[in-house]
Amino acid sequence: MKQPESTASQVKGSVIDIRPFKVTIPQSELDELKRRILATRFPERETVNDISQGIQLSTIEELAKFWANEYDWRKVETKLNSYPNFLTEINGVDIHFIHARSNHENARPILLAHGWPGTIIEHLKIIDPLINPTAYGGNESDAFHVVLPSFPGYGFSGKPTTTGWDPGQIAVAWATLMNRLGYDRYFLHGTDWGAITVDLLAAQFPENIIGLHSNMPGVVPDNIHQASATGAPVPAGLTQEEQRAYEQLSKAYKNVHYAYYLASRPQALAGLIDSPIGLAAFLLDPITALFYPPATELFQNADNEKPDARLFSVYDEGLSRNDLLDIITLFWFTKSGVSASRIYWENKFPFFTPKGVKVPTAVSVFPGELYQAPKSWSEQAYPNLVYYRQEEKGAHFPSWERPQRIIDALRTGFRTLR
């Protein structure tokens, strides 16, 4: 693939620092995965008829069958390799990234930051429309150069061997990466942990940031955030919208035991590296239980047997079995079940509080997100709020599940900043 600009930026950065990379999982690994899935020793069925004890046995059995017999990793591998992939060492760790340049002259650079358990795959669907807007319902002036890095410990990035890789250090690594690519001024978009890292990056290096878009914004006032995490009753004086957000947060904090566990004992989950089905259940549970309740029928409904059938049909675009297994399989091949968890152990930042962002900010509010950021709080947290939109559908992984809406938000939200 011809990428002249990319080569130029390498020269501007440091040629030896940036190495091309290709995703090539050996066939033996694929065979071994299949062997392990077929050899799975399952637990007994749950004692309830719903998801209240976690991923149901019938779901995971169906997933196993589909994963072993139907799923095709080579498809997503090809998709990943349709973009230029690179490795570059930052602060002692190899950072993997996709760098997809637009052919349009006035394209602006944007860094897309993923989260857990999203991986770069959650942003894969938006690359083409961002770099090539005219082929996807946009104008030339909507074009972006896309930089999509894997977090340290995730996917094809290296695994840190020392402590310190918290969201703050990762934010600095993103700035280093953009600088190394020759981008002095760029846009940011983040989800989940990615949202926290781009907030921190924008707060620390405002001169480099043209604008930031977040669909998990950090806007909850400190005292309210604190109260919601401890399950205190709703503080007085909140608007209706704020009160709803507060209740959503309180509920979220009661349902993220996986996060507390990862924060406390990442190493205890060694089984996630050894058991593909154990990994799948662990990753699938928060996705389905927290954000996409219709997925109770994920691997159980016969209508969904077509690999690309859109699930979660209450959302108009949704996710397919392949979408989910792409992420799970990436975790498997890169053995990152434990290393990806360690960011929870490292993190000291409150998830949803303002991080001091002063740059122009765009906020998309999806109804299925952990909480729906009220406009009032968003204006306080982001004094330069240039865009705020409440979406009708969608949840925590919008660029994976509703790519059209995120593309529209990035185009519309940033239009005035170009």
């Binding site: 637990p43 007994e44 991923i55 035991h257 050894d274 662990f282």
Partner: protein, 425 residues
């Protein structure tokens, strides 16, 4: 079809019908009896299971080393590697099995679930019956070392009048007990089942001893059936005043007015609450831990971490230390979880539980407390006296932790002898 064949077939069919009628009658009769039937049980893991375990351990796909040089991210990978090597090459389950089978095991159905238990009567007259109740991530195995010294005290430094008849059950969903298929098996229901078990064995009045979940259960047994319980012994007492417990849970600074012992206990339990996220996870999503059924090393890693002190005490044998548990001890327990595929069924107890772990349950029967220094908190006498108005024995030990019976069986035996001496006539 020839006539002869027809006849044969009809005869055969007739016999079958008669047979199934007969069986039906018998099984109906048995159903009534079966509710209380006691069936002998032997531990017999198939050779193929042993081979499969070994194969899986050897094929383990490993995680990278933790980024710290301590236990703060969980059991260190070096320890897990040591464990796996020993498990696959040196550990001998058959030895354990033979040792377990030296004692009589039984199954009996209680409230719809098979309860497995070991039952050993003492030869001494006037032996007191006692039910010893385990917790998580333990099993009946953690209590097996107590059987000989308790039932045959004279051979183990005691006197004939120190003797006990010993019953050690496996909780539902644990070890060789059945796995509940419906909800409701919380500590209250287990407590009821244990009282039923002791009655079924012919014990009108008996003692109960517990650690971890077992402590919660014996407290509840005492509250539910005060007339059946001669007394209880606990090494994880429910004795923290409710407001103090709440404040420790919330991570608040120590309340004022605590004695030094109370303050020490408060600090310990505060640390505990910050290190038992596995418990909250199992309490909310037990089924999501399905990998524990599929990966022996994953299972071992998970089970070795109960709380920071226990993790240190359980894993030190893999660093070559001699005190306390042996590698075989640790792997006996982990192997039991593996062979019985009980990681998830055992975890479900956390999901079922609504009881508070450490606060007083309203026990009025005689209570003996052994306060071990490395327990989740070392119960101060002041709190024990308040929680258990009929406190007949209290002792603060110099060594021992959350799995004291397993790790320090001699001290523990002596504690049980001393605890109940005053109740013997």
């Amino acid at each position: 079809m020839t006539t002869a064949n027809k006849i044969r077939r009809s005869l055969f069919g007739g016999v079958l019908v008669a047979g199934s009628l007969l069986l039906g009658t018998v099984s109906n009769a048995q159903t009534a009896a079966a509710d209380t039937a006691i069936r002998p049980f032997k531990v017999q893991i198939a050779e193929s299971e042993l081979a499969d375990l070994k194969q899986r351990i050897i094929a383990t796909r490993w995680t990278e080393k933790e980024t710290v040089n301590d236990h703060s991210q969980g059991v260190p990978s070096k320890t897990v590697h040591e464990l796996a090597t020993y498990w696959a090459t040196k550990y001998d389950w058959r030895k354990t099995e033979a040792r377990l089978n030296r004692y009589p095991h039984f199954l009996t159905k209680i409230d719809g679930v098979d309860i497995h238990y070991v039952h050993v009567r003492s030869k001494e007259k006037n032996a007191l019956p006692i039910i010893l109740t385990h917790g998580w991530p333990g099993s009946f195995i953690e209590l097996m070392k107590l059987i000989d010294p308790l039932t045959n005290p004279v051979a183990y430094g005691g006197k004939p009048e120190d003797a006990f008849d010993v019953v050690i059950p496996s909780m539902p969903g644990y070890g060789f007990s059945g796995k509940p298929t419906t909800t409701g098996w919380n500590p209250d229901r287990i407590a009821k089942a244990y009282v039923t078990l002791m009655k079924r064995l012919g014990y009108k009045k008996f003692l109960a001893q517990g650690g971890d979940w077992g402590s919660v259960i014996v407290d509840i047994m005492a509250v539910q059936s005060p007339n059946d319980l001669l007394g209880i012994h606990t090494n994880m007492p429910g004795a923290i005043p409710a407001d103090i417990d709440k404040s420790a849970f919330a991570g608040a600074p120590a309340p004022s007015g605590l004695t030094p012992d109370e303050r020490h206990a408060y600090d310990q339990v505060s640390v505990t609450y910050k290190n038992v996220y596995y418990a909250f996870f199992m309490g909310s999503r037990p089924q999501t831990l399905t990998g524990l059924a599929d990966s022996p090393v994953g299972l071992a890693t998970f089970l070795l971490d109960h709380d920071p002190r226990s993790m240190a005490l359980i894993t030190r044998t893999f660093a070559g230390q001699k005190e306390g548990l042996t590698k075989d001890d640790v792997l006996d327990n982990v192997s039991l979880y593996w062979f019985t595929n009980t990681a998830i069924s055992a975890a479900r107890l956390y999901w079922e539980n609504k009881s508070n772990y450490f606060s007083p349950k309203g026990v009025t029967v005689p209570v003996a407390v052994s306060a071990f220094p490395d327990e989740l908190y070392q119960t101060p006498r002041s709190w024990a006296e308040k929680a258990y108005p009929n406190l007949i024995y209290y002792n603060k030990l110099e060594k021992g932790g959350h799995f004291a019976a397993w790790e320090q069986p001699e001290i523990f035996t002596q504690e049980l002898r001393n605890s109940f001496r005053s109740l013997r006539k």
